[in-house]
């Protein structure tokens, strides 16, 4: 039983990281921290891909003499693409954060939501109920 648990340790690491990232994402109001959480969350999935590419006893996937067993290179290649996507997402997220800071003067989500609500209420008051 214990053995099974440790056999699949890569999955446990992935699950832990995912949940940590997810928690950060939800629990913090700071937009930057949310992006960090998102990154941890994504990285967890990347690690899952990478770890399943490993074949027990297999060597690096570089053709060489005397080697019969290679690890699977495809997941690594795939995750390279996914990392690029992740970087782009992070960049866009940070860019948006800068714009939000300029527009609202804060990067705290609660404050932003409150400001949006106030604006809405003000409009409603100004126009009266229609």
């Amino acid at each position: 039983m214990m053995l099974d648990f440790f056999d699949l340790y890569n999955y446990w690491v992935v699950i832990f990281l995912m949940m940590a990232g997810f928690y950060t994402l939800i629990a913090y109001d700071n937009l930057i921290k949310k992006i960090i959480g998102l990154n941890i969350f994504q990285s967890a999935v990347f690690m899952l891909y990478i770890s399943v590419g490993k074949v027990s006893g297999g060597s690096e996937p570089i053709a060489a003499d005397n080697i019969e067993l290679y690890s699977n290179p495809l997941p690594h290649v795939l995750i390279l693409t996914a990392i690029v996507v992740g970087v782009a997402t992070t960049a866009l997220g940070l860019a948006l954060t800068i714009r939000i800071k300029e527009a609202y003067g804060t990067i705290n989500e609660n404050d932003i939501v409150q400001m949006n609500r106030d604006a809405e209420a003000e409009k409603a008051q100004e126009w009266g109920r229609e």
């Binding site: 999935v45 899952l48 997941p75 795939l78 996914a82 866009l92 997220g93 409603a124």
Partner: protein
């Protein structure tokens, strides 16, 4: 040339996006984008004609045969969706020029068109690809472009809406990535057709179930399935008008397509219904979203936000069709993909014209417009009637099949919910109609004139489509029924 059509479908907008960025001239960007969208439509129609007999075009990218290389597969289902997406683009891109003059600073126009083309390329790619990982990549391309487009809105709220969508969209994307990864560990392939073959003998595996769950939830986030819909109203309400129109008409449609493709094309109807009982989840969630989104729409003061909530309800209809799990239900879903794109397109474009002239799109901005912008408001009324499901419009055709499916199943409460929601739609559309036609224009708002022809023409093209495909629905229904039968295969 014609054998490369599937690749060109995606590559043309993708490459041209880079080209217009390099040219850095707004007018060139506009003309190229319009040309690209028309070219895409031509290709999509050509593809649909090629596969309309039920055949499948397999295209191996770069000559690498599947399952090693990336394959693009075109069948009746995705050719149909390709036509929807590129058709909407072909109508809305010409519309965009004047509309963004009023809403987006001139310095950003080139970037706007770059993002728009990237978004189109991503959506078309998601639709046409036969490779699960490629699907993820293209999904992210379109999503990133979408976040950018939304953030271009005039109101600062568009920024927070874009950020919220970015977070939720990325979670959805990551879930999809995870699901695809699990599938790969199980089967060792990423090609959808290949996956379907290898999944066959694996029925009861936990990993398979987990993969299914991750994919459904991930795609559910992208298509704003209740309760994963929170990003949608804000995003649609604050994005630039033409972006709202384009997204409402295409993005969720492609997501629904993706759900269909994975459920039926990869996992198979037997697994989805028989093993996972996804229909129970879909029907219950769909019913909730149909009812509640309609009710919330009724409370909105901003017409754009109202339409966004109405979109949620319409997405509920599409999911309901899948959940009903019979040919009529799936036919309804597929028809509604097409029909909803037409009706929401008209409604959002009409709003964009209102915004163009009055600088806003709330109930207040619309009051008294029936007299001042008669053609714009007439388009809105036709779109609204279509949304309600009045006969001789496309909305009626969708409703017909949806109700038929629920009656065939004998699920009377579902029938009742569909009908009640239609009546709520009457109420929220009529609220706008009354304001536009019976209310005096507020004294502090300027008198406006009818929108220019360059905006009216695309809108009325869509209006005509709404009516034409509502009267002569044989073609669309024929395709939808065929596809539905193929998708369900031997089930029931």
């Amino acid at each position: 040339m014609s054998m490369h059509l599937p690749a060109l479908q995606v590559i043309i907008p993708l490459l041209l996006a880079a080209v217009i960025f390099l040219f850095n001239n707004a007018r060139i960007a506009y003309i190229v984008s319009v040309a690209a969208s028309w070219l895409c439509l031509a290709i999509a129609i050509q593809l649909l004609l090629l596969v309309n007999d039920g055949s499948v075009i397999e295209y191996a990218f770069g000559g690498w045969e599947p399952p090693w290389g990336i394959a693009y597969n075109v069948d009746q289902l995705n050719a149909f969706v390709l036509v929807i997406v590129s058709g909407i683009a072909a109508i809305m891109f010409p519309f965009s020029w004047r509309s963004i003059q009023a809403e987006i600073p001139a310095s950003l126009h080139v970037l706007f068109y770059t993002a728009l083309l990237l978004c189109l390329a991503g959506l078309l790619g998601m639709t046409i690809t036969g490779d699960a990982f490629n699907f993820f990549v293209l999904l992210e391309i379109s999503s990133l472009a979408t976040y950018t487009l939304i953030s271009l809105g005039k109101d600062r709220r568009s920024l927070s809406a874009a950020f919220q969508y970015l977070i939720m969209g990325t979670i959805g994307g990551t879930f999809i990535l995870l699901g695809v990864g699990l599938l790969y560990t199980l089967t060792g392939t990423l090609n959808m057709a290949d996956l379907a073959e290898r999944i066959g003998p694996l029925q009861a595996s936990r990993t398979l179930q987990a993969a299914f769950a991750f994919l459904v939830v991930g795609i559910g986030l992208k298509l704003a399935m209740f309760p994963l819909h929170l990003w949608l109203p804000g995003a649609y309400a604050t994005a630039p008008s033409v972006v709202s129109a384009f997204l409402a008409a295409t993005a969720t449609k492609v997501a629904v397509y993706a759900l269909l493709r994975f459920m039926f094309g990869v996992f198979g109807a037997d697994f989805a219904y028989g093993e996972m009982h996804v229909e129970l989840m879909l029907v219950s969630l769909a019913l909730v979203s149909v009812l509640f989104a309609s009710l919330i729409a009724l409370l909105q003061r901003g017409v754009k936000r109202m339409l966004a909530y109405s979109s949620l309800a319409q997405i509920g209809y599409m999911l309901l069709g899948i959940g009903l799990a019979n040919v009529s239900g799936l036919t309804a879903t597929l028809l509604h993909l097409f029909n909803h794109a037409l009706m929401k397109g008209v409604l959002f474009l009409a709003l964009a014209m209102v915004f163009y002239r009055t600088g806003g799109s709330s109930m207040r901005h619309m009051s008294g417009l029936g007299r001042q912008m008669p053609w714009t408001m007439a388009a809105f009324v036709v779109g609204g009637l279509s949304l309600i499901g009045v006969p001789l419009t496309v909305g009626f055709i969708s409703k017909w099949y949806l109700i038929l499916a629920s009656i065939e199943r004998g699920w009377w409460p579902v029938t009742a919910v569909i009908l009640v929601a239609s009546l709520i739609a009457v109420m929220y559309i009529w609220r706008v109609v009354e304001v536009a036609y019976f209310k005096e224009r507020p004294a502090d708002l300027p008198t406006v004139s009818e929108a220019p022809l360059s905006l009216l023409l695309p809108t009325w093209t869509l209006v005509a489509a709404n009516i034409y495909f509502g009267i002569n629905a044989s073609v669309t229904t024929g395709i939808a029924q065929n596809v539905a039968q193929t998708l369900l295969g031997g089930v029931q």
